[in-house]
Point group: C2
Chain length 357, copies 2
Amino acid sequence: MTEPLRTGATIGILGGGQLGRMLSVAASRLGFKTCVFEPGSDCPASHVANFHLKADYDDHAALERFARSVDVITYEFENIPTAALDVLEAITPIHPNRRALATSQDRLTEKEFLIGLGLSVAPFADVTDADSLRAALNSIGTPSILKTRRMGYDGKGQARIKSPDDADAALAAMNGAPAVLEGFVDFQREVSVIAARAQDGSVACYDPGENVHRDGILHTTTVPASLSPSQRTDAVLIAARVLNALDYVGVLGVELFVTRNALIVNEIAPRVHNSGHWTQNGCAIDQFEQHIRAVAGWPLGDGSRHSNVTMENLTGDDMDRVPQIAKTDASLHLYGKAEVKPGRKMGHVNTVTGAAT
Amino acid sequence: MTEPLRTGATIGILGGGQLGRMLSVAASRLGFKTCVFEPGSDCPASHVANFHLKADYDDHAALERFARSVDVITYEFENIPTAALDVLEAITPIHPNRRALATSQDRLTEKEFLIGLGLSVAPFADVTDADSLRAALNSIGTPSILKTRRMGYDGKGQARIKSPDDADAALAAMNGAPAVLEGFVDFQREVSVIAARAQDGSVACYDPGENVHRDGILHTTTVPASLSPSQRTDAVLIAARVLNALDYVGVLGVELFVTRNALIVNEIAPRVHNSGHWTQNGCAIDQFEQHIRAVAGWPLGDGSRHSNVTMENLTGDDMDRVPQIAKTDASLHLYGKAEVKPGRKMGHVNTVTGAAT
């Protein structure tokens, strides 16, 4: 446990996308400066960060400069090269810790970790070649889904297998990368819990949100989720168990499939999460400030929900709807991305639907 | 009426203090970049703005560069030199407009403007020398207060006159600047209305807040204010009358003295206002975003109040209380100022005291 950061300290953020942008804004509320490390120019976070260090993750001199210029390091994405982390961590503390990153960077490691905690996951099997895929399909069956162990997000690095005939194409889609075959879960709904853990070990979980995806990308999150009181409690306890097991500091996203009998962990993300954006308009302290508080060694803030909210992602041409949305009572959050591409997350809109129920 | 600014456009902000900082953050929510013009280094707004143009207000080449690099210009303080405004306005539109600035930069002009609208102000008289001060004291009496016509804020440029014996000292305190003698108003409370007007002329007023000052500096603002329904309506109508008369675009602060029989306008500020900081935790769209929406030619957002809030300014050594405040359910907003000075505004804290009543 280090001393809490004082106002005026600088928080280093790896990654300059919208999550880094909103983390920077939250850090500013607490009087912190931010320095963003991001190879891309004109990235969303650079618009609001005090510094943008534009360099590649294999530029170790730049990484050293970055680490020396900040008081603590955090990140907005989990796929940070291990060698870069080695350079950074030798100089400045990183939160959440390396174990959280190592666990969530690899689907196989993550599933084995979750099982070790006594949590439920979808049936899965390690796949390295045609033989192991065949064996996996024999045990798990179809429909199922083949996913690269590493570097997948927003539906990328995934191939659905409807029948054994799809096996070869699915394996080819992995481009030789180690993979995991996952059985489909017949779920009623998907929810996620955004949870935070401070350096003193205290935990605060936001109310679970209910997610709807479209084309593999999160489309809406709605709070409250349709859960029974016991499901709600269980969801929060699962998140807390993961946080404590990892000796985690910061905000973590846990995606859960809700079936008739169980809550099955789909995946964990060691960072602020798209399904927690509703907290910006539903809570006094949103997930971004909660994360900054944790990594800065501060106490967690008030994450209780004061409103019912629906968050909708704005991707690609959804930006054409912004002038109409601006006329409503909804709250827009745009990321300042210059280029609109199909499926690209351009912003989100939070609609408060009433006082919390 | 110009076209609404598109996401990715740049808003120029004159002044780099905490108001510019919070305006920059609000602009980022709507996908805008900001460029801050401010002579000081490491100013609060520079931490979150995309660009900081560090130059003096008499550097006309820098002003031109600034005006050419932004799509619209706004400001966080009213005491901008006229020559600078001439340079800027020849290149890029400024909101709120020059008339709003000219009116509020000069206490005498402002009072005459308000009287012209049929609004009540405290008794006042123009003071240029010892003779005019003597005449003014004869008509207004004591206690009264002598204020410089221009450049006063947070109690600066003011001298109280308890008896005619204080006249010479008060006049000397003006340093030869033109002044106004104001009679004391025996008020029950001071409230302020934060009001916004869009480019299409639509007006939205926040609920009035009740202000308590300490040593001439705002200490707390509480919503709801203790006002009768008719006082509440009158306060909002006064603000709307001022906005419309000035063909105003942006957010305006109107300070009112509440007496037994009247609402007396103390002063107007053509900008976001300290007494409107509670909106950050009391409304979906806060005063900063409302101002950005207006100057960007967007529709105004939802400024209805969802919570009761008390805002407390943190000045000087109040910063020592931050670790304690961080443990509570309150929302901190710190300005990242490196140097703590007595009376210097370092941040504020919003405490939600319940759902709106």
